[in-house]
């Protein structure tokens, strides 16, 4: 599954970040890395873009970009 499949109140873990280099570079610079926990925190009227809580920050991603981030559901 990818970030856009994350539903409210689910906690996920980042498995991999794909996509073009500048997207990866940008996410990396923001501290979005493999192994981090993610939650969906807000969504606009159109469902795009959405905001994800990643660590101590909230990051706003368009769905096209969010699709590049592979995640898995956390059990806890």
């Amino acid at each position: 599954m990818t970030l856009i499949d994350v539903a409210k109140k689910q906690t996920c873990r980042i498995l991999a970040i794909k996509g073009p280099d500048n997207l990866r570079q940008r996410l990396t610079a923001l501290g979005v890395l493999r192994g981090q926990k993610v939650r969906l925190s807000a969504s606009t009227l159109w469902g795009d873009p959405r905001t994800y809580a990643i660590g101590r920050q909230q990051i706003c991603l368009r769905n096209d970009d969010a699709r590049m981030v592979e995640v898995e559901l956390c059990n806890d």
Partner: protein
């Protein structure tokens, strides 16, 4: 004895409170004002302390030094080309690991660094405040608490800066042990004569660096980047970032402040403001409230200023002997300059609201809420900030579009910026709305601004279908945590904007009023003054909009600067009257309400002022786009005002 001068560069992540700290460090002695969060150019300020002159340079807020975006290049090139004597690295204590990732880049580059741990109170309330001494010991750097709002830590910080500068310490280069393949690549790159930090930065940024890379180094670098990518699924940048974070987590572990269990930072305000259904209505409601308050609250101080101006006029009329001198002072300067000066409170209020929205973190959320709308019409998410800046002045706003790298999105943002109603147009709206729609003035104000935004979006949508796009720039934005605006920064910012307004009153409006007065007064003993002749010449063009020759000349004069419109109306209508009430009565008698509304619409949409045209030409590199902007504005303004007048006449 001449005092020593040292340069201290402030560097840190966006939203870490760097600008507040800069304001605190330099007081009012800084060179340029700026909108919070959009420090694309660098600002400088000075302070004397213990006989040393400290020159502070505020660099743009960035996340990384090896990342190919405009702001990051500005900071990176500055640090490489003109290394400061000291880097004051501002670190948000509430998000330590990400902030320290930038610090590790500074240390690898062996830049002498002092860390200012900002937002400590915020971190304390979340129970995650790091221990400064511990951190200092582990990083082998001075780590000091700081607070951009209160001067409580300031002396300690300045003491340390001066002490460090006097001792000129040479920091040992930080060496992070990266993943083994990365290390091998770094090894091969340093073999060609690069430093370790240069090799790391080149890998991390895929060769986009400030220092010179020779062809053979560049070839090798490309090989290494490709090789790393083939060994791992991750890019070199990701592998290196993992190394940095690994190092930082190790530090935290050693310092006892372990951050393994990450708590998600969420705020109750977000559940309202970012609510899927409530978000946009709340945004629109806040904007309406902003304009309503701008009008109603601004009316009180405006009355006081008006009373003072009236008094001055009467005093001059009584004290100066009859003649041209009295005319020019009373009917020219006092009427014109005073006629604009009374709107200073409205302008100040509007700026205060915008600054509060920015500093509290709401603006970023508004950008998030409207992103979909903006991308639909071909605008980039980054266009939000320049568009909001346009409410202040279109000139710096158009310059701020430089952060948008995709040429088409940038061009569209430049061309639609004049429709964002700048503060120079506010006096006209407040004046007219107050006369013709006294009961709903705030709503009319809100409507005019909304019309501007709507027009901007429509034009953007059309342009984006006409001009081919080159590539899509990704839009990833961090939502800053909610924060109380710092009073000091707020006051400084608003003071700055009020100063701009006043200095324009003292220059362009003053001279504009003189010119209008001159044309209005001569030739003497004739049927029509020059101004009236000019107005009548063009009046047929404006007659379908319900406007007379007075409004025609006012709009003409607005080409110089839009504030002059209000000044001209004051001079033309106020002849013989002594105060605002007289002007209002004269306008009410001379114009139909629908024509008043049409005048507002025309003022909103018609061609940009001289300074804006010049900056459009400069930023787009051709007169063609400046001409397009002029024509577009004139056509839309005429059409819009015509419709407004014709439809409005049916109702009022």
């Amino acid at each position: 004895m001449t005092s020593q001068v040292f340069t201290v560069a402030l560097l840190g992540n966006p939203n870490c409170g760097k600008t507040s700290l800069f304001n605190l460090l330099t007081g009012s002695r800084q060179r340029t004002g700026n909108m919070a969060g959009v420090t694309v150019t660098r600002r400088e300020g000075e302070r004397e302390y213990q006989g040393v002159r400290l020159r502070f340079v505020d660099l743009p807020g960035i996340y990384s030094l090896s990342h190919n975006r405009v702001e990051e290049r500005v900071a990176r090139d500055y640090l490489f080309e003109t290394p400061p004597d000291l880097v004051l690295n501002v670190v948000d204590a509430g998000n330590l690991s990400r902030n320290l990732a930038l610090t590790t880049q500074l240390l690898e580059q062996q830049l002498p660094t002092v860390i200012a741990l900002n937002m400590l109170d915020e971190a304390e309330s979340q129970g995650i405040a790091p221990d400064c001494d511990n951190l200092a010991r582990l990083l082998d750097l001075p780590v000091l608490p700081s607070d951009g709002r209160k001067p409580r830590y300031l002396d300690l910080l300045l003491d340390t800066l001066v002490e460090q500068l006097r001792n000129q310490p040479t920091a040992p280069a930080l060496e992070i042990a990266y993943e083994q393949h990365v290390e091998q690549s770094v090894g091969r790159l340093t073999g060609t004569g690069l430093n370790r930090w240069q090799a790391v930065q080149a890998l991390e940024s895929a060769g986009d660096v400030a220092f010179v890379l020779h062809d053979h180094q560049r070839d090798l670098l490309q090989q290494e980047v490709a090789q790393l990518e083939s060994y791992h699924d991750d890019s070199a940048a990701q592998l290196i970032a993992e190394g940095r974070y690994g190092y930082i987590h190790g530090l935290m572990h050693n310092s006892g402040s372990d951050h393994d269990e990450i708590s998600f930072a969420e705020h109750w305000l977000d559940s309202v403001v970012l609510n899927r259904w409530l978000g946009l209505p709340v945004f629109v409601g806040l904007l309406w409230l902003m304009f309503e308050t701008t009008f109603t609250l601004g009316a009180y101080p405006a009355d006081w200023i008006d009373a003072a101006v009236t008094l001055l006029g009467q005093w001059l009329a009584a004290g100066v002997p009859d003649g041209l001198l009295r005319d020019v002072l009373v009917d020219g300067l006092v009427a014109g300059v005073g006629g604009v000066l009374v709107f200073l409170p409205n302008v100040v209020l509007l700026f205060t609201f915008i600054a509060i929205m920015e500093q509290s973190g709401y603006m970023a959320r508004a950008a998030f809420l409207t992103d979909r709308l903006m991308s639909r019409v071909g605008l980039h998410g980054k266009a939000f900030v320049p568009l909001v800046m346009g409410f202040g002045c279109n000139v710096p706003a158009i310059m701020a579009t430089r952060t948008i790298e995709e040429p088409r999105a940038r061009l569209i943002t430049i061309l639609i910026n004049p429709f964002m109603s700048c503060s120079a147009r506010l006096p006209v709206y407040v004046l007219l709305a107050g006369i013709f729609f006294a009961d709903q003035a705030g709503t009319v104000l809100f409507g005019i601004y909304m019309l501007g935004i709507l027009m901007a979006f429509t034009v953007a949508a059309i342009l984006s279908r006409k001009i081919p796009a080159q590539h899509d720039e990704s839009f990833i934005m961090e939502l800053p945590p909610w924060r109380w605006p710092s009073l000091r920064s707020l006051a400084l910012h608003v003071w700055d904007k009020a100063g701009d307004f006043l200095s324009k009153i003292g220059s362009v409006i003053l001279v504009g009023s003189l010119l209008i007065w001159l044309l209005q007064t001569f030739p003497q003993n004739a049927d029509q003054s020059f101004l009236e002749q000019l107005g009548h010449l063009l009046a047929p063009l404006f007659a379908p909009l319900g406007l007379g020759w007075q409004e025609t000349v006012a709009l003409l004069s607005g080409f110089i600067a839009k504030e002059v419109i209000a000044a001209t109306l004051a001079v033309v209508y106020q002849a013989g009257e002594q105060d605002m009430a007289g002007l209002q009565a004269a306008l009410l008698a001379g114009l139909a309400p629908a024509a008043g509304l049409a005048l507002m619409v025309f003022t909103l949409l018609y061609m940009p002022c001289l300074a804006t045209i010049a900056v459009i030409r400069r930023e787009t590199g051709s007169w063609r786009w400046a001409m397009v902007s002029i024509l577009l504005g004139l056509v839309l303004a005429w059409g819009g005002a015509f419709l407004t007048y014709q439809i409005g006449s049916l109702f009022f």
